[in-house]
């Protein structure tokens, strides 16, 4: 299978007034299309930083990042946003639903930004809500939902555009174990249908759903456990 993501010697620094933190230090690894990868490591080792760069939210300070065969390190904000909205879906630990929008409208949002026609939007949103079994809550506002339901909406929003890649940063971090398992189940199903999934987690249990675990320390990869 093709490599979807090729990362080589990736570097990222944060400069604050006094100190410079090395968040990523010559990190190198690949992710193939259709893979389900878990990233683990102690707090502060650079997992979120890595995910932000893969998600094209942030730009690395050094090294190379090839996404679908294109070098994207050094892309400007506009180009990254363009690539991002068509290819990548996000699931966050804190859900990040917009409180002022209903479930339906939250899920519809990515379609608006990718310019899908209103009639098609309706079809797509309903399809996804159906799949996530949250259709009956479509006119509720996020705060009227339980944590598990909110995360299902967030997943629905992440997949509504049929992205090739889903990035999840501790998607179960704010959920109890049963809701957490539901979400992992959803990600596995999506992966089975061909979507590549990269997930950051602190939970060995959740990591077992993946094909491969990348373990990080101080900004670089230390080991890799192949599960499948």
């Amino acid at each position: 299978m093709n490599s979807m993501i090729k990362i080589k010697d990736l570097e990222k620094y944060y400069r604050t007034e006094e100190v410079q933190t090395v968040a990523l230090n010559k990190l190198t690894f690949d992710v193939k299309e259709g893979e389900f990868v878990a990233i683990m490591g102690p707090s502060g080792c650079g997992k979120s930083t890595l995910l932000n760069i893969i998600g094209l939210l942030d730009d690395p300070d050094g090294g190379s990042f090839i996404f679908n065969g294109i070098e994207v390190a050094g892309f400007n904000e506009r180009k990254r946003a363009d690539l991002r909205k068509h290819n990548i879906g996000f699931v966050f630990q804190s859900f990040n639903l917009i409180d002022e929008l209903t479930v339906y409208e939250n899920v519809e949002l990515p379609l608006i930004y990718t310019g899908v026609k209103p009639a098609d939007r309706k079809k797509r949103v309903e399809e996804v809500l159906e799949k996530m079994q949250i259709m009956h809550r479509r006119n509720h506002f996020p705060q009227q939902l339980s944590g598990g339901q909110q995360q299902r909406v967030a997943v629905a929003r992440a997949v509504v555009n049929n992205p090739k890649l889903i990035l999840a940063d501790e998607p179960t971090g704010n959920l109890d174990s049963s809701n957490g398992n539901d979400v992992m189940q959803l990600l596995t199903e999506l992966n089975d249908q061909g979507t590549t999934v990269i997930m950051v987690t602190h939970s060995e249990h959740d990591a077992k759903y993946s094909h491969r675990i990348i373990r990080m320390l101080d900004g670089h990869k230390v080991t890799e456990d192949i599960l499948v």
Partner: protein
């Protein structure tokens, strides 16, 4: 997409009810003020542009010689107009315009009724075609065909004749001329400086037939051929002075052609002129500035509340960006949101402007009406205001908030946006500085007004009534009226005068030697009776004017002020008594008495030379009786007075004015400024407080958790209130420090206009500072106390 923006924006607006209401109220007030002012300014800027020849009509003004301080006068000799038309081919038409009897209220007799009239003019018949008079009856060509004809405006006709026809009716003016109505014209537009109620032919009077280059009393309008170079014509006109006037008589040296459309606003430096419809471009500029300032203060509220709220909004901005929104789309969203809010404010502001229009009129004395508010340019202006305010108020929040990074969602450190906090504080300081400057300005303006009102004028205008006797049919009438009045208990003194102080004196010169070419310009006023007693003048030397002068006495007895004494180099007033004085009055004039300088004019002006005189052969007539009275029952006194007047002068309208009111009138425009600035400052402070209230609510909300923790740890309500109010008070104090020197400088400049001015007291500043702090504290503490007394358990549960 747009539909989506509107939907989202609308939700956001509704989600923050408090901020929305504060913003709309503030903006609507600011906009209301602006709308009314724009309507006002629009009418002011469009004076006199409706005539078909507006562009080619000029008023001729002249510059006087050094002796008269190079003043610019709008009133010229009556020879100027005819000479210009005769000698300069480009000058096609001219009309001279003069108010009957040089501007004193005319007394009209129509049938058996007497009326007072302020708008009676004499003019050349060309006035009708130059100023597009629309005749409803009669016509412009024939109106002055018959001698002794008069034309009336529609409203004058209705006032005198009601619905009856007026054509051919007789009107007696000042018991002197009887004129026949020969036409009725539609009222002149209210944006015309020409404000004639009625016009008769100047050629029916000596004023039009005796053409001379000396007395300057006639406004002169010239219509030039289209596309003429005005500067050239001005030069040619100025050349006429040498051609027609010999060197000694040249007390004016230059003619200026003032475009008709500029007369209304740009005549502050021009003396005289008869129109009552004069504005001032500087007033307009300052009002506009103040209204824009208020609007800007309201815009600041929007900027501050919107960006203060940005932390709440940052999550949704971040999410939108993660999902693919670019910065432009976020910008549009914020602009749409601002636009919706401003649209509401414009609608509300426009609605309030209709409700508050009467208030505005009574405060400023302007006569704009509902119709002016509905004018198309105002409606277009509203659209423009909508756009401009959206951009002014919306840009800073839009730019600052749309740049929020999506990484904010994933980063754990919620760091403060210190740049926007700094801007926000700066803007609050600006708002309060402006408010404090306005408070200080109002206080000093009011102080100055009181100062002027209480200033010792050198005479006492209180308790003096001026009754017009200029239409008396004979001198005997005036004399017997005076005698009868003097008999009344409540009347202390009566003097007949040519003019009440500062109104219609004659301009003359006093010369040291009769051979001098240049002298000191003075005002001379003929009087009969004891003027010292009537006006309570301060006699320094000599005696009052003689009560009776024997039949053959040709001496002119004069009472002069110190200014003249100083000019004539007398060491002391006593030295001058009995001396001869050169006055241009003809005959032998001697100094009978010397009075202390008194402010016959506005105290804004310097005191010049002033002379009362009495003589058997006075060239001027007496026009008014000044009556010093002392009564507990004014209505009854006035009733008796009118009865006596009517018995003695049955054919004349009873026209009177209180001298103190007349004096107060001199400061009417300052009074108006004071009112306007007061209103503006109250509004500015109110709007600034709305913003502060919102910010305080925001801070309290943001610090709910902190407050909860502090309270759990034992902080008192007072302690928490202080904690929350402190920061805002710091800003207000900074504003005070910034505002004080600026206010001092502005008011120092404003006071320069007055010869007599109140000192600027330090306590005014302290007072303004305390007021601002107090108002701010009141505003902020409401929110602070609310947060402080809230149950901490409840506040800790949020988050």
């Amino acid at each position: 997409m747009v539909k989506n923006y509107i939907k989202t924006a609308w939700r956001n607006i509704r989600a923050n009810k408090l901020f929305t209401v504060l913003n709309i109220v503030g903006l609507a007030i600011g906009l209301c003020v602006c709308i009314i002012l724009f309507a006002f300014v629009y009418t002011e800027l469009n004076f006199d542009n409706m005539y078909s020849n507006s562009e080619n009509i000029y008023r001729v003004n002249m510059e006087t010689s050094e002796e008269y301080d190079f003043e610019i006068w709008a009133e010229l000799p009556n020879a100027v107009g005819p000479a210009i038309v005769k000698d300069i081919p480009e000058a096609k038409k001219m009309t001279r315009l003069i108010k009957d009897d040089f501007g004193v209220t005319a007394s009209l007799k129509i049938g058996d009724k007497n009326y007072n009239e302020n708008g009676l003019y004499l003019a050349d018949s060309t006035i009708f075609s130059m100023f597009d008079f629309k005749f409803l009856e009669g016509n412009s060509k024939n109106a002055f065909l018959q001698p002794k004809s008069i034309v009336l405006s529609q409203s004058a006709k209705e006032r005198f004749f009601g619905s009856k026809s007026a054509m051919g009716e007789l009107i007696t003016v000042n018991n002197r001329d009887t004129l026949q109505v020969s036409g009725i014209y539609a009222d002149l537009p209210k944006n015309s400086v020409i404000d004639c109620d009625m016009v008769y032919n100047i050629k029916d009077s000596w004023m039009g037939t005796d053409v001379y280059w000396s007395n300057a009393s006639y406004e002169t309008y010239i219509q030039l051929q289209p596309n003429t170079t005005v500067a050239q014509i001005e030069d040619q006109a100025t050349d006429l002075i040498d051609k027609y006037v010999d060197k000694d008589g040249q007390y004016f040296t230059k003619f200026f052609f003032q475009p008709l459309t500029k007369i209304h606003l740009y005549s502050a430096n021009v003396q005289d002129g008869y129109s009552t419809r004069l504005g001032n471009i500087n007033t307009i500029k300052s009002l506009l500035f103040l209204s824009l300032l208020i609007l800007f203060i309201a815009c600041i509220n929007y900027m501050n509340l919107a960006t203060a709220n940005s932390r709440k909004r940052s999550k949704s901005i971040g999410v939108n960006k993660v999902l693919g929104a670019n910065r432009g789309q976020m910008l549009s969203l914020f602009y749409v949101e601002t636009a919706i809010l401003v649209l509401f404010s414009v609608v509300v502001g426009y609605a309030i402007s209709f409700l508050t229009l009467p208030l505005f009129r009574s405060i400023t004395g302007n006569d704009i009406n509902y119709h002016d508010l509905l004018a198309t340019p105002i409606l277009i202006g509203l659209l423009i205001i909508w756009g401009v305010i959206t951009i002014v108020a919306g840009s800073y929040p839009a730019i600052s908030m749309s740049s929020i990074s999506p990484l904010l969602l994933v980063s754990k450190s919620k760091k403060k946006n210190s740049a926007s906090e700094f801007v926000r504080k700066g803007l609050v300081v600006f708002q309060f500085s402006a408010s404090i400057i306005l408070i200080i300005a109002v206080t000093i303006i009011l102080q100055q007004m009181t100062f002027i009102k209480n200033k010792n004028l050198g005479y006492n205008p209180n308790g003096v009534l001026a009754v017009s006797v200029k239409s008396a049919e004979s001198r005997q009438q005036v004399r017997s009226l005076t005698q009868n009045l003097k008999r009344q208990m409540s009347i202390e003194s009566v003097s007949a005068v040519q003019s009440m102080p500062g109104l219609n004196e004659s301009g003359r010169s006093v010369r040291k030697l009769s051979t001098d070419v240049v002298g000191m310009p003075i005002k001379s006023c003929r009087t009969e009776g004891d003027i010292i007693e009537t006006l309570k003048l301060n006699l320094l030397a000599g005696s009052k004017l003689p009560e009776v002068i024997s039949e053959g006495d040709s001496i002119i007895y004069t009472l002069i002020n110190e200014k003249i004494i100083n000019y004539l180099d007398y060491k002391s007033p006593n030295d001058a008594i009995g001396k001869i004085i050169n006055t241009e009055l003809g005959g032998r004039a001697i100094i009978t008495g010397v009075v202390a300088n008194f402010n016959y004019n506005s105290v804004k002006e310097d005191i010049g030379g002033y002379m009362y005189y009495k003589s058997n052969k006075a060239p001027e007539r007496v026009r008014a009786l000044l009556i010093r009275y002392n009564t507990q029952n004014l209505p009854q006194f006035m009733g008796n007075l009118q009865k006596t007047f009517n018995e003695n002068m049955p054919n004349t309208a009873f026209d009177y004015e209180f001298l103190d009111k007349h004096v107060a009138q001199l400061y009417a425009s300052e009074e108006k400024t004071a009112h306007a600035v007061s209103v503006f400052s109250v509004l500015a402070i109110f709007i600034a407080c709305l913003g502060l209230f919102g910010l305080a609510a925001f801070t309290a909300e943001q610090r709910t958790k902190e407050i909860g923790v502090r309270k759990v740890l034992g902080a008192s309500v007072a302690g928490v209130t202080t904690l929350l109010s402190k920061d805002f008070l710091k800003l207000v104090c900074m504003a005070f420090i910034l505002a004080s020197p600026i206010a001092y400088w502005i008011m120092q400049n404003w006071l320069q206009d007055f010869t007599y001015r109140t000192p600027i007291n330090w306590w005014v500043f302290v007072l303004a500072g305390i007021a601002a702090v107090f108002i701010a504290l009141l505003t902020v503490s409401f929110q602070a106390i609310k947060a402080a007394i809230a149950n901490p358990i409840k506040s800790l549960r949020t988050e």
